[in-house]
C-alpha cells in the first residue's frame, strides 16, 4: 500500500487505510483456513478467488455514473432503466446478477434516498462496495425516521415542497438513485455528464455536481 496517499482515495473511492502489519487475528486465521479448506475440497481455486477480487475491485461508482449519463441523454433508455434497472444495465454490459435493480428518479419535487435498515444491501455491481457509513447503525436507524436531518448531515438541504422518498433495500432487491441532471449542461457529452455523477448522488445522500464547481 503506498505511503504517500493519505489525502487520496483508493480506486474503490475509499481512503487508504494504515498498513496491516498488526498481529494475525483470530478471524484472519479463520479466513486463511476456510480458503485453504475450500481449495483442498475442490470447491474453488486460488486463481478463482483472485479473479473474483479483481472483478470486485474493478467495480466503482464510474459504472453507475455511465448508466446515469446514458439516461440523461437518451430518454428511451431512461424509460427502460426506470422500468427494469437490471435489464437496462445489462444493455450497457453491466450485469447486476440475479437481484432486482430498481432505479428511482429524482425530479424537481421528489428526492430519493436508499438505505438497508437490516444490513448493507447496496447496488454493489454498479457502485462497488458500500462506504462504511452506509453500514453504520446511525445511517440504518435514522434514515427511515428523519431522512431530512440525515441528508442535512451530508450537506443536502431540501425545500419543504420537495417530497423525500426513502427506499429500504433487501438482499434480493437493490435500489439506485437516478439523480436530477444539473442545470446548464445542455452542451456536454455523455462522458462529461458522467463525470458530474458522484457516488453519493446515486445513493441519494448527494446531488450531481454542477459543471461550474
Amino acid at each position: 500500500m503506498p505511503h504517500d496517499h493519505h489525502d487520496h482515495l483508493s480506486p474503490s473511492g475509499h481512503p487508504y487505510r494504515a498498513d496491516d502489519d498488526t498481529p494475525l487475528s483470530y478471524w484472519q486465521t479463520m479466513e486463511i483456513a476456510v480458503r485453504e479448506l475450500l481449495v483442498e475440497k475442490n470447491v474453488t481455486t486460488p486463481e478463482e478467488i483472485n479473479a473474483q477480487i479483481d472483478k470486485m475491485d474493478a467495480r466503482s461508482p464510474a459504472i453507475g455514473a455511465a448508466v446515469v449519463a446514458r439516461a440523461w441523454v437518451d430518454p428511451d433508455f431512461k424509460q427502460r432503466l426506470l422500468k427494469d434497472g437490471s435489464a437496462a444495465s445489462l444493455e450497457m454490459g453491466f450485469d447486476v446478477g440475479p437481484m432486482h435493480l430498481i432505479a428511482v428518479e429524482n425530479t424537481q419535487d421528489t428526492h430519493n434516498i436508499i438505505v438497508c435498515t437490516l444490513c448493507s444491501c447496496y447496488p454493489r455491481n454498479l457502485l462497488g462496495l458500500p462506504p462504511d457509513w452506509y453500514k453504520s447503525r446511525a445511517y440504518r436507524s435514522r434514515t427511515v425516521k428523519e431522512p431530512r436531518k440525515v441528508l442535512s448531515e451530508f450537506g443536502v438541504t431540501l425545500g419543504e415542497n420537495v417530497t423525500v422518498r426513502v427506499h429500504d433495500s433487501t438482499a434480493d432487491m437493490r435500489y439506485v438513485v437516478l439523480p436530477a441532471r444539473p442545470k446548464d449542461t445542455d452542451g456536454l457529452s455523455e462522458a462529461e455528464l458522467a463525470s458530474l455523477v458522484t457516488r453519493d448522488s446515486m445513493i441519494g445522500t448527494g446531488v450531481a455536481r454542477n459543471p461550474s464547481t
Partner: protein, 113 residues
C-alpha cells in the same frame, strides 16, 4: 435476548434513535476482499445461500455487531454455513487454523498464497 421491546430483532434497526452518521471510512484489506470473494464464489456454487449467510449473521446478536468488524462477522457466518452444509468438519477447521497460526505472527506470514 435478541428481541427488542418493539418485537423486532436486533439487526432490524430502522426507526431507532442514533447519533450522527460517522463519516470516517476505510478501503478494504486484502483479507476482507478475500472474505467477500469467498462468499460470492461459494454461494454461487450452491454451498450455501445468501439467506443462509443472513440467518447466521442475524443469529449472532447485537454483541457481534458492536464488537466485530463487518468482514469478521461475514467470515464467521460463511464458516458456520460451510460446516452446516458438510463442506468440511469442525475438526478439519480446528486443525487447519492451528496449522495457519504456527506459520507466523502476521497475516502476510501466515498466508501461503
Amino acid at each position: 435476548m435478541n428481541i427488542k421491546k418493539n418485537g423486532h430483532r436486533w439487526h432490524d434497526m430502522g426507526g431507532q434513535d442514533a447519533g450522527a452518521v460517522p463519516q470516517n471510512q476505510h478501503d478494504f484489506s486484502l483479507w476482507e476482499k478475500r472474505v467477500d470473494a469467498l462468499m460470492i464464489v461459494a454461494s454461487s456454487k450452491g454451498y450455501f445461500t445468501v439467506d443462509g449467510l443472513r440467518r447466521s449473521l442475524e443469529d449472532m446478536g447485537e454483541y457481534a455487531f458492536e464488537n466485530m468488524s463487518y468482514y469478521e462477522r461475514w467470515i464467521a457466518s460463511i464458516n458456520q454455513n460451510l460446516i452446516e452444509s458438510g463442506t468440511y468438519t469442525l475438526e478439519e477447521l480446528g486443525a487447519k487454523m492451528a496449522q495457519v497460526q504456527k506459520r507466523g505472527e502476521t497475516y502476510g506470514e501466515a498466508n501461503l498464497g
